[in-house]
Symmetry: C2
Amino acid sequence: MATLKNIIFTIVALAFCTMCTTSQKSIDPLPSWNEGPAKQAIVDFIRTTTDKANPEYVPPEERIATFDQDGTLWVEQPIYTQVIYCLDRVAAIVESKPELKDIEPFKTVISGNREAIAKLTIPDLEKIAVATLTGMSTNQFQDEVKKWLGTAKNQRWKRLFTELTYQPMLELLEYFRANGYKTYIATGGGQDFVRVFSMQTYGIPVEQVIGTAGGTKYAYDKNGKPILTKDPKMLLNDNYAGKPEGIHLMIGRRPIASFGNSIGDREMLEYTKGGSGSRLAMLVLHDDPEREYAYGPAQGLPDSKVGTFTQELYDEAKKSEWMVISMKNDWKRIFAFD
Amino acid sequence: MATLKNIIFTIVALAFCTMCTTSQKSIDPLPSWNEGPAKQAIVDFIRTTTDKANPEYVPPEERIATFDQDGTLWVEQPIYTQVIYCLDRVAAIVESKPELKDIEPFKTVISGNREAIAKLTIPDLEKIAVATLTGMSTNQFQDEVKKWLGTAKNQRWKRLFTELTYQPMLELLEYFRANGYKTYIATGGGQDFVRVFSMQTYGIPVEQVIGTAGGTKYAYDKNGKPILTKDPKMLLNDNYAGKPEGIHLMIGRRPIASFGNSIGDREMLEYTKGGSGSRLAMLVLHDDPEREYAYGPAQGLPDSKVGTFTQELYDEAKKSEWMVISMKNDWKRIFAFD
């Protein structure tokens, strides 16, 4: 009889555990989101695609969600963080190669003249990118970026750049993963750059970061140890059509959900929605000049230099049943430190 | 008191479960391997890198193991399986483009003249590869390969090509995964080709297949649905130095263990061993003419056209503490059907 009692006890204990789980599930997984169509669409999508009884159920191995970074997961204004990194690195580059100090565009960058720097052309910025992002070993690059991220601060908030991630999006990433989704970054930014902080900042391992990628060259360091050096040759321009192309190269599956904020994400969202079954495509709209920025024609503002959310994109979002996330209305808070 | 009893019962039950686990662990994870230095090296490596108390412990996120495919996971003689696929596809290509039937190398292939086919040059084979592996959508390609794999048979064994995988290596893949390793394929073969059967055959999901990869082009099918079409432009030649370069692009980490069988794997093994801590690099030696094939200079045989395991590689393996797996001596059986 003691055995029977024990069995009953075990069953009760198990039932209790199940209740714990159930009660945990009812905790809001998206506390920084206001109730509204955006949040509802996300919760409905997760429910639909993870419920085995639902005809639009998605098996775990196919649960792929891709996220743009700049302007979608963290602040991209007034200029992409990686561009600030490159400009900041110019001093170190010129120190090791003094012959560059009188050559443009390096001369302008080290002059510190902000107006002149703001006028640098795309070819100028490309020269700076090649000088600061290539030539070194992959390990050396990681160390340089890590060091910079640990000290450099954003001018407006006086905070580390990795603190300028959107809290609602961090919750969203976690919510997707808790529901068996593999979360990937698909950024126009540098793949190796974002990999340096992707795990710590977003909980996304390096192998799930897709970005604009140059080649590497297999080589040996002075001790004969095999290393890879970063090469200027472009392998993947992870923008526009390059996003689905990069997703195919790196994942080999069409995403079930994807998130962006600019015309560079258009093809990725279209590709995601082009699959069968339940699909989620969302665009973050920067419409909160108080707490962050407002840009794009939805605010009647001219397109900014970065993160172009055009009127055309807005119209396509409506037509294609992509959801627009209003930072102002859908997000209770923007940053973890708010 | 009943409660106390229940607690004791629960503890006993838990202890019993732990015993089950322990007893399961003592089941040989590599039953198709003979006892010997190769098997011992594998078991020691896994024990060392997964034991938290060991100074060479590797945290789970860094547990990456990469496997060459042709000649390492499945038969590569007398000719790579993917080459057979391409030759078999020529008939279908010529049917849709009859103008090719009088043009070389297609004319030779459809003639069925084996001697002439065996003499095709590398540029000939490249033309055939471009015609049979590119131009279609990624989905169409998957369907074509899947269909072929379901019916085409190997001439010697009269079996599907996916049955010609090495049982000891399948056990090894599973053993690594059971110990928290992420297993990747790093093949000189086509990435999209291998992805078609990687999960079913090796338990490796498509996103963990690194291979020689052409680009894709974002496009729309006749219904306006977004697709990707396979482009002849080479993105990654996943051979020699291309293996560590591809591994960096796709994973962004240096593997802790890697497995190959030819000079095309040399840099991957060297790169793997170049990291700090415990590392495992192994080469499969084809020295079993009865049960499979014998080739390479270790058998005093001239190099074969494929899977070149040179004397130089053999010497380097000894010098660099790479382990050589003798198919004849280390493997109890070669195939699951043996």
